[in-house]
């Protein structure tokens, strides 16, 4: 399956055969999970999102049109799922729970560098949390997924101009937040608040 293109894999799925599911999952699960995790700041919700996105993608494969990229379609489903999740009142309160998640740092770095990276991770996650969901969606897709404004517009259901504005405003907010936060203070406590 590895030699087949996304479109070819999807054509097999559209014919009712789910054998490419594993290969499609391997190609995109990390991007989908990371996007959902950073968007929702909640690892469990990100797990649910990833599972449901792939199951939905496979079961509704006929809604995929070969003229779009599979990644764009998958991110559309994921972004919809995340927006629905945040719309539910109960989930808003849970948003901050995973802020302090610590991820393994590369072993080759010195302890000081690892500490700095971890600190930076906290600061960035906190700064991302200060964005509106629309801005966060746009910046995550642009900065971490490398999508073009046209693709983001398709995923977010808005114009390219709106994406441009969202990314610009997001960058302005992040610049301020990261510059201010670099001044010190009890970051862990801030992250909890």
């Amino acid at each position: 399956m590895k030699h087949l293109s996304d479109q070819e894999l999807m054509a097999i799925v559209q014919a009712g055969e789910f054998s490419p599911a594993s290969e499609i999952y391997d190609r995109y699960s990390s991007r989908i999970y990371n996007f959902a995790y950073r968007f929702l700041k909640n690892s469990e919700a990100a797990e649910d999102a990833t599972q449901e996105v792939f199951v939905k993608m496979l079961r509704h494969a006929n809604q995929f049109h070969g003229d779009a990229k599979l990644s764009t379609w998958l991110f559309s489903i994921t972004a919809n799922w995340c927006r629905d999740y945040l719309r539910k009142a109960d989930n808003k309160a849970k948003e901050a729970e995973d802020v302090l998640v610590t991820l393994p740092a590369p072993a080759e770095h010195s302890p000081e560098r690892n500490l700095e990276r971890r600190e930076n991770e906290r600061r960035i996650q906190k700064a991302l949390g200060a964005l509106t969901p629309e801005q966060r969606e746009a910046i995550l897709l642009s900065r971490y997924q490398g999508l073009s404004y046209a693709e983001i517009a398709q995923i977010s259901g808005c114009s390219e101009g709106a994406v441009k504005t969202r990314v610009f405003r997001a960058m302005e907010t992040l610049k301020k937040a990261l510059a201010v936060d670099a001044g010190g203070g009890d970051r862990c406590l801030n992250a909890m608040s």
Binding site: S29, N34, V55, F168
Partner: protein
């Protein structure tokens, strides 16, 4: 919109190198001759670089299994559930016996004589008594007809927590253990408590995650009258042993919300977490739980007081932990 505004709005595109050549050239020229926009550009570039330090998160392997299972594809690896017996006849016997372990009739209900002892061994069946229920289908059992005795460490999967009517005191636990079982009853039923305890302490044999179980336990057992020492003890074990800090945070937070009567049994574990847990958020929750205990009139022993004193003056400690520790001490001395 001034020229500067137009240029600045295009700067993120410059960062991704997706600005068209003409505008790219224009923007760079503008940056060179406009100090304010030059500063803006440097700030954005530094922010963009810093954002690159957000690491990738590893995808939990279990998601793939669940996805493939949902669309009827074979699991990507050897199943983690070890079959009890290979031979069909023996497997049927084991299935029947495993259910008997759970459904032993009302004889055992309420006869709790000692805590559940979980051995790190495969599930074993000591004897097979006639079962009152068929295992061929999904069944619902009232908690007072179920023996909570769990032997070995059977795999419990597809757990869901049910509270269909928050206004009554009935709750339910639904799970697969060779066949799908739902146990319903009150939160205070010992059967229910023991099942929950097993689920809290054996997350590696359970899906979905323990974190969800703790959420549900918190919602149910924080209600007045539902607090149970055995649940508190299980949460204490989670707090002491779980490798995942988010799970430990939730366990400490749940203990904080449980009544003093339940949480006082776990005071030592809370102190231990306050002293040794590497995650400041866990320590925050632990000191808050201790503060709740002190507020509710629970007498804190000298070891607890010593730890709080040490924390209150420890410069390297999180400032919130220090303040909270000092607060507890002042309430104790009043």
């Amino acid at each position: 919109m001034s020229e500067c505004d137009v240029m600045r709005e295009g700067m993120p595109l410059l960062l991704t190198e997706s600005l068209d050549p003409v505008r790219r050239e224009l923007t760079h020229s503008h940056i060179e001759r406009c100090p304010a926009c030059g500063d803006e550009w440097n700030g954005l570039r530094e922010t963009w670089r810093l954002m690159g330090e957000l690491p990738k998160v590893e995808v939990p392997a279990s998601i793939k299994e669940r996805v493939l299972e949902a669309v009827g594809q074979p699991r990507p690896q050897v199943a983690t559930v070890v079959p009890l017996f290979r031979r069909v006849v023996l497997r049927r016997l084991a299935e029947a016996a495993a259910l008997v372990v759970l459904v032993g009739g009302s004889y055992y209900a309420g006869h709790r004589t000692r805590p559940v002892e979980l051995q790190p061994t495969q599930a074993t069946i000591n004897s097979v008594a006639p079962a009152r229920y068929s295992i061929a289908e999904s069944r619902v059992f009232p908690a007072d007809l179920v023996s909570p005795t769990i032997e070995g460490r059977p795999d419990i999967e597809n757990v869901s927590f049910i509270d269909t009517n928050p206004n009554d005191d009935a709750i339910g636990l639904s799970f697969d253990i060779t066949s799908h079982v739902t146990v319903t009853g009150r939160p205070t039923d010992k059967s229910m408590v023991r099942l929950l305890r097993y689920m809290l302490e054996n997350h590696e044999t359970m899906s979905p995650s323990r974190s969800k179980a703790i959420d549900w336990v918190r919602a149910t057992y924080s209600r007045p009258g539902n607090a149970d020492p055995e649940i508190a003890e299980a949460l204490g074990n989670v707090l002491r042993n779980d490798a995942h800090q988010n799970v430990r945070i939730k366990a400490a937070d749940t203990l904080k919300h449980m009544g003093a009567s339940a949480a006082s049994d776990t005071r030592e574990i809370l102190v231990e977490a306050l002293k040794n847990d590497p995650n400041p958020a866990v320590r925050i929750k632990a000191v808050e739980a201790l503060a709740n205990l002190a507020r509710s009139g629970v007498q804190l022993d000298s070891a607890t007081i010593d730890t709080l004193r040490q924390k209150a003056v420890q410069n390297s400690e999180n400032v919130y932990v220090r303040v909270k520790a000092a607060e507890v001490l002042s309430s104790v001395h009043q």
